[in-house]
């Protein structure tokens, strides 16, 4: 698709994760090149969220190595903060800060984490709010916006940190159908600009349009990885076929 270089920006090597007894990630090997767009799908409970949450250390993996942009993730706080600096994340339930205005949501982290002066941060924030097409909502509170608008603010908030990688965890599944498109449109345009993106989503139209590779997960394992055309038209694995036939109908 778009310009992708060959250096992997994310490397996951034999990653395992347990929740107490439950083996949530089993031997995950995954390399993501800079600028690459991955779509991750799979049945509920298959470990999709856990996989991407391990990348920015919202969950700690128990075995194996994760390296992001040259920084290897350990339990050390510094390595975690270094890695989070390069990664933006968008959640299913938006998680905007309800007590802050839209603009404050976008300027808080740049000011607190990167020590950007407030004026500069506000300028950047307005730029990205423009990008997600809601510059006029800057002074409202999140609670005054529609779901689609809130999710677009959440995208702008993540972009304000100027990350190299964006993680999306089912960004449209909490939205009413008429708002799904406005969020997907933003994601498509972001993809067009060469952002490295990992999206957990069941929006197969989006996957066909922007994904370089589609990943199918089940029971904590990566079952199948392929380019979208082969993935959808010619799935290799029985479980992939079963899953696809379920979500297509």
């Amino acid at each position: 698709m778009s310009q992708t270089s060959n250096a992997p920006i994310i490397r996951m090597n034999s990653v395992h994760k347990w929740f107490d007894e439950y083996h949530a990630l089993r031997n995950i090997d995954l390399n993501v090149r800079e600028g690459e767009k991955l779509v991750i799908c799979g049945p509920s409970g298959s470990g999709k969220s856990t996989l991407i949450r391990c990348i920015n250390a919202l969950e700690n993996h128990d075995e194996g190595d994760i390296t992001v942009n040259g920084n290897t993730l350990t339990r050390d706080l510094k390595s975690i903060n270094d890695i989070r600096r390069d990664i933006g994340m968008v959640f299913q339930s938006f998680n905007l800060f309800p007590h802050l205005t839209v603009l404050e949501n976008c300027t808080l982290a740049p000011v607190q984490v990167k020590k950007t002066p407030l004026g500069k941060a506000a300028e950047t924030a307005r730029h990205y709010l423009e990008r997600v097409k809601i510059p006029e909502q800057a002074d409202k509170f999140p609670g005054q916006l529609s779901g689609g608008q809130q999710q677009r603010v959440a995208i702008a908030r993540a972009l304000c940190m100027e990350p190299k990688i964006m993680l999306f965890d089912e960004p449209t599944s909490a939205l009413d159908t008429e708002m799904v498109k406005e969020v997907l449109d933003i994601m498509v345009s972001l993809a067009g600009e060469g952002m490295t993106m990992l999206c957990v989503t069941h929006e197969m139209g989006f996957a066909r349009k922007v994904a370089d590779r589609v990943i199918f997960m089940d029971e904590g394992q990566i079952i199948e990885i392929n380019d979208p055309t082969s993935f959808f038209d010619n799935p290799q694995h029985e479980r992939t076929r079963a899953f696809l036939s379920q979500i297509m109908h």
Binding site: N56, L58, N81, M89, P98, L108, V113, M161
Partner: protein, 339 residues
């Protein structure tokens, strides 16, 4: 009208009984408070009369300022006005800035200095001679100001994954909550001095302040913990994903939301703290209530209890009612910022 007051037999009876009570009580109260009352004159005029308001006219400086030297009463008066002015200044949320915090620190420091004297040619007045409303206000302000950060630490500690912190917090909160404030006051005022090495004494006012602060901290901590539990975990996750550290996340994301969620119970606790200050009279401190009781012991006057307690009640009511109206306003104001 008819529907509300006479809809069935029971409410008709209630209405009738209340009407009789009101019709007999109101004239009595009116004649006591107004027609038969004494507004000016000496103690003799109050004998066999209605309300003895002239007693308050004579004694209100003593009730308000206690046994503070009469010639120096302007000092506690300035302290009261200063604290009221600070409180009023702080009401609008736009004034909740670092500067206001510094103003409070400077204001309270000035108030304490003014009360105590001994500098700038002001006569030294030991805390044992402080009394009345300034003592009540200072105890309230100081115990709330010190206990609030302490309560936040306790509430966070109670949720900590580190066992020592959570156990220490739970232990402190549960022990203090299990004690009546009176016993805490006795502990800090009588046992604390016994435990200290000889020669070191702690001011009586400080001991009372310690008890009130400890008590307020435990109750505030539980209220705040309730608020913390109400904040969605996604909030802290979003902040962490943005690279914010634990302290930043807690201070800027979690606590502001937690506290907004518990404004009503927080107000309740604050009002209780205000009223609790009156219990310091049991360890010999001269707060508003004790000053009122002392005023009543003047043998020259026929001890008008009702009038004196009414006067004190009006002051407490004004403070507490003001606080609860303000909290309602705050709650409304923050409504849009709460999920």
């Amino acid at each position: 009208m008819r529907e509300i007051f006479f809809s069935d037999l029971a409410s008709a009876m209630t209405t009738l009984i209340l009407a009789v009570v009101i019709l007999t009580a109101v004239p009595q109260i009116l004649s006591w408070a107004i027609f038969d009352s004494v507004w000016t004159g000496d103690p003799a005029a109050c004998v066999d009369a209605g309300a003895c308001w002239s007693f308050l006219g004579e004694k209100h400086p003593f009730i308000l300022f206690g046994i503070y030297p009469p010639d120096e009463r302007w000092r506690p008066l300035v302290v009261i006005l200063l604290l009221i002015a600070l409180a009023l200044w702080t009401l609008p949320t736009a004034h909740w800035t670092r500067r206001t915090l510094y103003l409070w620190i400077a204001g309270v420091f000035t108030a304490l200095l003014l009360m105590r004297g001994g500098v700038f040619g002001l006569q030294h007045v030991p805390t044992a001679d402080w009394g009345g409303l300034p003592v009540t206000l200072l105890l309230t302000v100081l115990s709330l100001a010190i206990s609030f950060p302490f309560a936040i630490v306790l509430a966070l500690g109670r949720q900590s994954k580190l066992r020592i912190f959570s156990w220490a917090s739970i232990g402190f909160i549960e022990i203090v909550r299990g004690l009546p404030l009176l016993s805490l006051l006795f502990i800090t005022s009588i046992m604390l001095p016994l435990m200290l090495p000889e020669g070191i004494t702690i001011d009586n006012l400080l001991r009372a302040l310690a008890a009130l602060t400890i008590y307020a901290a435990a109750f505030l901590a539980e209220v705040i913990r309730g608020g913390l539990q109400g904040v969605n975990t996604g909030q802290a996750e979003a902040a962490r994903a943005l690279g914010m550290r634990w302290v930043q996340t807690t201070r800027l994301i979690v606590l502001p939301q937690a506290i907004r969620k518990v404004i009503p119970p927080l107000t309740n606790t604050v009002v209780v703290v205000v009223k609790n200050t009156s219990l310091v009279l049991v360890i010999g401190l001269f707060d508003l209530l004790s000053a009122g009781r002392a005023a009543l012991s003047d043998p020259d006057w026929p001890a008008p209890y009702a009038e004196t307690y009414l006067f004190i009640a009006v002051i407490y009511f004004a403070i507490c009612f003001g606080i609860s109206r303000y909290s309602l306003w705050l709650e409304k104001k923050f409504e849009q910022g709460v999920q």
